[in-house]
């Protein structure tokens, strides 16, 4: 599981940073990629990575500002052109359906895969046996969501050596034990999965917020997250401007990470007023409050380790 930042700028594309898109790579977990936002030229950025558009299984849109959605029609079309045939679901605020539908219709784009569009409200928007995704509204000029992706806990590793030492040969019962079930052996002895399983593997929590001011829901979504991706449009001294434009500063993002007890913070959505030489200063501002902070740049990739 890795986060790959495809675009880390704010508002309009610049040479240094493209507009927003973030890929959550779940290749080991489910041979899939989940995308968060899709600013213009996201598919162009993908050309410079190893991501395959057909692997994109879900797209989560935080809000409908152009720098977060204008790459969507092109990516949807190209995924089809490049032999993507599995279902794709796009989640996002009300209005998303009209934008996608009109763009595809007017351009006479016919997708070779089933496209599901889900206009969301606060709450659980997706769940299967591996993941649960919660959405909650933030504080921005337009409706803007944050997403909390919860990986479910997995049973620990089955200790095959201990089983063999106890004279239990490999067979179908290993699968039952792996599930934590109890099993009766041929000699009428009952053995319990829990006695042969390592500790439960704790699922990870990834929180990715749309554009926002500091707000209660940001804190809620980020609680105990393994990684919090927070916009940081402005530096610490621009708090008033951040408030006026419904954005956050480096230190506001760091305070949310600290209060939420997150384990790691990634800053992104950096205003084009800041050059590459400012990145160190911006990240230091946040680090003075929350130590484990990174500032993303286009193509920045970071693994999300399983916590012990």
């Amino acid at each position: 599981m890795e986060l790959l930042f495809l675009g880390t700028g704010a508002g309009i594309p610049a040479k240094l940073r493209n507009v927003t898109s973030i890929a959550l790579k779940l290749l080991e977990e489910r041979k899939a990629v989940w995308l968060f936002d899709c600013g213009e030229a996201t598919q162009h950025q993908i050309l410079h990575t190893s991501l395959k558009p057909r692997r994109i299984e879900k797209i989560f849109i935080t809000h409908l500002h152009g720098d977060h959605i204008f790459g969507l029609p092109g990516l949807l079309g190209s995924r089809s052109f490049q032999s993507g045939d599995s279902e794709l679901t796009v989640f996002g605020p009300k209005g998303l359906r009209q934008f996608i539908t009109v763009s595809l219709q007017i351009s006479d784009t016919h997708l070779q895969y089933p496209l599901k569009i889900v206009e969301i409200e606060d709450g659980i928007i997706f769940e299967d046996d591996q993941f649960l995704v919660e959405a909650a509204k933030l504080d921005h000029a337009v409706e803007s969501f944050g997403y909390r992706i919860i990986e479910k806990d997995k049973p620990g590793t089955l200790n095959a050596k201990k089983l063999r030492d106890d004279g239990i040969p490999p067979g179908p019962i290993y699968a039952k034990l792996k599930n934590g079930e109890s099993v009766e052996l041929d000699n009428q002895k009952i053995i319990h999965g829990k006695d042969y399983l390592g500790p439960t593997i704790k699922g990870r929590i990834i929180t990715i917020l749309g554009d926002t001011r500091t707000c209660a829901n940001a804190l809620k979504l980020a609680a105990n997250a393994d990684v919090l991706v927070h916009e940081s449009t402005f530096s610490a001294d621009n708090e008033e401007m951040a408030y006026e434009y419904f954005h956050s500063t480096t230190t506001q993002a760091a305070k949310t990470a600290l209060q939420a007890n997150a384990k790691m913070l990634c800053l992104t959505h950096i205003s084009s007023r800041y050059g590459l030489e400012d990145s160190k200063h911006l990240v230091e501002e946040a680090k003075s409050i929350f130590k484990n902070t990174y500032i993303a740049h286009d193509f920045f990739e970071i693994p999300i380790p399983t916590s012990k």
Copy 2:
């Protein structure tokens, strides 16, 4: 007057060629740039040129396929963000208005300049004292237009030396003579502008076609053009495929240029199946029929000389 190719690929963006957009630079003529098509990431391509989005005065869309329009909402928004405040007119097929309107509305984009959207039919779509633009439908899977941009002839240069030699001092009458008018001098002598003007400066004709098969209207639009920009999605041996997909080959473009008596041919809209190493071969195919042929690549710029 120069043509600057911003994107020269077909269908989907590739590392080598972005999707279609062509800038007609009219900086000397009217301090303006006219854009033809606006595929996704056209504004990103512009970042790598000296073009200023606020200089874009008119955008002509040939057809509504995604690779020709998905960069439009972003460019319109960024032009506003980058202090463009002069009126912008976008011409194109029916459906263009809905695409632009919905994209700007859904994304809450408020332009700081007047935007005019003109859904066109065959005929003269624009005329002022400098230029006249004609549109005509081509032969493509969806309604696709070609544009013929006619620069109007300009009066020749006023021969100031000859005027002085004839004892006529500079003054307001110079402007009248420059316009070709006749003027009565203080000594009652009548002099004629035409006797002091160099030869009329012939206006240029630029023909830019949307995606198309070979067709009669392509020929009509290209008649005697100083430059013909023609799509050339396929190489000469793929004529059947070109027909099936409503496109043209290198040699079909060359034949149109030849029959239309054009002076120069620029091939663009090249399929991503062709690499950089194929360009020479593709242009040679066309040159075997029409000698003065160029094949465009992204950021290829070519002046359009005034004909003698």
